[in-house]
């Protein structure tokens, strides 16, 4: 906070304000102080919803419809982060207020609500979206209105925008390290790829297949996609039994995911008999699938609730204090939690809420610690540098981290894949 820089205040108030700045500046050394915030016209020149003591931001997720199941955790995390920031004195002396809009699992609705947030509410930034489809729908709105979006989900990559920060992993970060691990630690040579039939699993599997065939010298013995919402995997399971791959690599999502694991279990395909690595199961999904059904299988994520990092312990504790002891935190929930903190640091570094300045200030911001998943750095391509971890699901519904990569550079446009 830039407390001691004299501002362009009206003359009659400068005396008092100066006095206040000195006393409050002193108190800022010991505790939060937000009364001495820099004047609004200094920190915002583009008509955003910033007043002398508040700043309004948007939260845009599905509260209703099929995606509500997944997006609930993200909303909780974003609200928690905002609450914590406010308790620490807010941003540039301003308390964050938020406007929540419901994208209703419907992509045109997402675009409409994004427009409303940016043009009507003039929010300083938006935390939101979950599926790639919703992100693609709002992207032109954010670019036209020069808005700012923090997007939490791990996704397929192949995208980069000045107006979006991607706080989850892009496909290569999540997949390549995981496959290398499977190859080295499990000795996996033959792979069976399974996914739900839409862009994220298809792109991910394309990357996986190339990596397996070109770089690992392995074989893909089968590749199958099932429509979203499919609940019958009997035939697929039989095919896998017949092909006996060293590893099943899966990206099945939503209600299908639950059916997939239940039917694997019912078909006697336990983790011992058929190792499987998924990129679509977090603690959130385990809640629906049932811990008895996922035990022993692997997930590749940047974050697990069980991570033994001090800042994660604090995060989990705060999250449970807010939402109850039964609350679980999945990878995307943690990514959503990062959004407000990334934005706070960038705004304070820029000394301004203006989108262009915030974006410019974000480049190469670095957290050695403090983030629940550990080391973080914002790449100029708006993705994050972070580690990838392999977790093995235990009978208590938590993952045990069995392997951890080095910090991986985000590469949303991989060459040769």
């Amino acid at each position: 906070m830039n407390l001691l820089t004299p501002g362009r205040r009206p003359l009659s108030r400068s005396w008092l304000a100066g006095l206040a700045a000195v006393t409050l500046g002193a108190s800022a050394l010991f505790g939060p102080a937000h009364a001495a915030a820099p004047a609004t016209d200094e920190v915002m020149t583009t008509g955003l919803a910033v007043t002398d003591d508040t700043v309004n931001v948007g939260i845009l997720h599905s509260l209703t419809g099929t995606m509500a199941i997944s997006e609930t955790g993200s909303i909780q995390a974003e609200k928690l982060a905002i609450k914590q920031i406010n308790e620490q004195g807010g941003i540039l002396g301003r308390q964050i207020e938020y406007t929540v809009e419901d994208g209703a699992s419907d992509w045109p609705t997402f675009a409409e609500k994004a427009r409303k947030l940016l043009q009507g509410d003039k929010v300083a930034t938006v935390f939101g979206c979950w599926t790639s489809a919703s992100r693609k729908a709002v992207l032109p709105v954010f670019e036209q209105n020069n808005g700012l979006l923090y997007y939490p989900t791990f996704y397929e990559g192949l995208e980069q925008s000045k107006n979006v920060f991607y706080t989850g992993q892009e496909a290569t970060q999540q997949i390549l390290a995981a496959l290398n691990w499977a190859n080295e630690e499990l000795g996996a040579k033959s792979f069976y790829l399974v996914g739900s039939d839409y862009i994220w699993p298809r792109t991910s599997m394309k990357i996986a297949r190339t990596h397996i065939e070109k770089h690992l010298g392995g074989r893909v013995v089968g590749e199958d996609y099932y429509p979203l919402g499919n609940t019958q995997f009997g035939s697929l399971i039989n095919k896998i039994k017949l092909k006996r791959p060293d590893l099943v690599f899966a990206a099945v999502v939503g209600g299908s995911n639950v059916a997939w694991f239940k039917q694997l279990k019912a078909a006697g395909m336990t983790a011992k008999r058929q190792p499987m690595l998924t990129i679509s199961v977090t603690e959130d999904e385990v809640l629906g699938i049932g811990k008895q059904n996922v035990e022993g299988f692997y997930s590749s994520m940047k974050y697990f609730q069980s991570l033994d990092i001090p800042s994660n312990k604090e995060f989990v504790e705060a999250f449970k204090a807010e939402y109850g002891d039964d609350a679980v935190i999945g990878d995307v929930t943690e990514s959503a939690y990062l959004g407000p903190w990334l934005w706070k640091r960038a705004v304070e570094k820029a000394g301004s809420f203006d989108v262009d300045k915030v974006v410019a200030a974000s480049d190469n911001m670095e957290w050695k610690e403090g983030m629940p998943h550990g080391y973080t750095k914002v790449d100029p391509n708006h993705h994050l540098w972070m580690r990838t971890r392999i977790g093995q699901w235990q009978n208590d519904g938590q993952a045990k981290v069995v392997w951890e990569s080095d910090v991986i550079e985000p590469n949303p446009f991989p060459e040769g894949y």
Binding site: I69, E71, N230, G234, V258, A266, L287
Partner: protein, 307 residues
């Protein structure tokens, strides 16, 4: 498939046969309730999937209660859950007929919209009551895992369980419709409503019970499906399309048609997705259904009814 032994191929053949059979059971369970409502009453119930979901949630509640009571309760709660699911959805169906559907008879498009709206309302009620996240129904041990007939052959226990439920329910339903007094009344109402009225049958009451029964069966299906798939606010929407497909393909007013159509669709789906990918199997199955319906709009089994 040259590099597989005869033993392996036999094993796959058996397991594949069984997976087709359990898919058939799932389709039939989904469709039975709708077949009664749609076939006998001509009501297009778009909220059918949500009745199914209600059955699943009731099962969840019973399993939750059972896990509070301890291990013995957890082992044997499932039959109780099925009865509770039937009772709960039957009651809701009764109320829905009494306060909504009865005002909309002979207006198929309006029932379609009204029941779809009801479906949305129910989804949101589930979301507000149980939260948007999926719930795990704790399975008793005897429903988990598989029966290993030989070293290669695994028969899923939950598949067997659904098979039994489907059998019992189908037989009971046929008996009810074709061997009981109530069944005669239902069929009389379907065939000629005013004549049935004149003969002293209270057709309003018959309608109400038929609708409630259809919903009750959906509830049982929902309870059974907790063993194989998810329990969330929008679970019902996973099933609704396939359900209509089965009923329409089979011929709306024929229960036998529903059985045959469920079998046909399930087997083709199951066999095709063994040789192709799941999405392609679906495409091909849908194409077959579309072409068949173009050539034979009344479905596989048409009943000769004077409308």
């Amino acid at each position: 498939m040259g590099d597989f032994t005869a033993q392996e191929l036999t094993a796959i053949f058996v397991m594949q046969g069984f997976s087709g059979l359990s898919l058939f059971c799932v389709f039939l369970l989904m469709a039975l309730g709708l077949a009664i409502i749609f076939g006998q009453m001509g009501v297009i119930n778009m909220a059918h999937g949500e009745f199914l979901t209600l059955g699943a949630y009731i099962t969840y509640l019973v399993s939750y209660q059972a896990s509070e009571w301890g291990a013995t309760a957890l082992t044997w709660y499932f039959p109780v859950a099925i009865v509770a699911a039937f009772a709960g959805t039957f009651a809701l169906g009764y109320l829905v007929e009494r306060f909504m559907i009865r005002y909309l008879y002979n207006r198929p498009l309006d029932t379609l919209l009204a029941t779809w709206g009801l479906g949305l309302i129910l989804q949101q009620v589930y979301r507000s009551t149980f939260g948007p996240r999926e719930k795990t129904v704790t399975m008793p041990d005897w429903l988990l895992g598989s029966y290993r007939a030989t070293d290669m052959i695994d028969i899923p226990l939950n598949g067997l369980f659904i098979l039994v439920i489907t059998l019992v329910l189908t037989v009971a339903l046929f008996a009810l419709l074709y061997r009981s007094r109530w069944g005669i009344k239902v069929r009389a109402t379907t065939q000629n409503r005013s004549m049935a009225n004149a003969a002293g049958i209270n057709t309003d009451r018959v309608d109400r019970l038929t609708f409630a029964l259809g919903c009750g069966i959906a509830g049982v299906a929902g309870a059974a499906f907790t063993t194989i798939a998810s329990t969330g606010p929008t679970t019902g929407s996973l099933y609704i399309v396939d359900t209509f497909l089965v009923v329409v393909f089979g011929g709306a007013a024929s229960l036998l048609g529903t059985v045959v159509s469920a079998f046909g669709i399930a087997q083709s789906q199951s066999i095709l997705s063994f040789f192709w990918s799941g999405s392609m199997a679906k495409v091909f199955t849908l194409l077959t259904v579309v072409v068949t319906l173009m050539l034979r709009p009344q479905g596989l089994f048409a009943s000769k009814v004077r409308r």
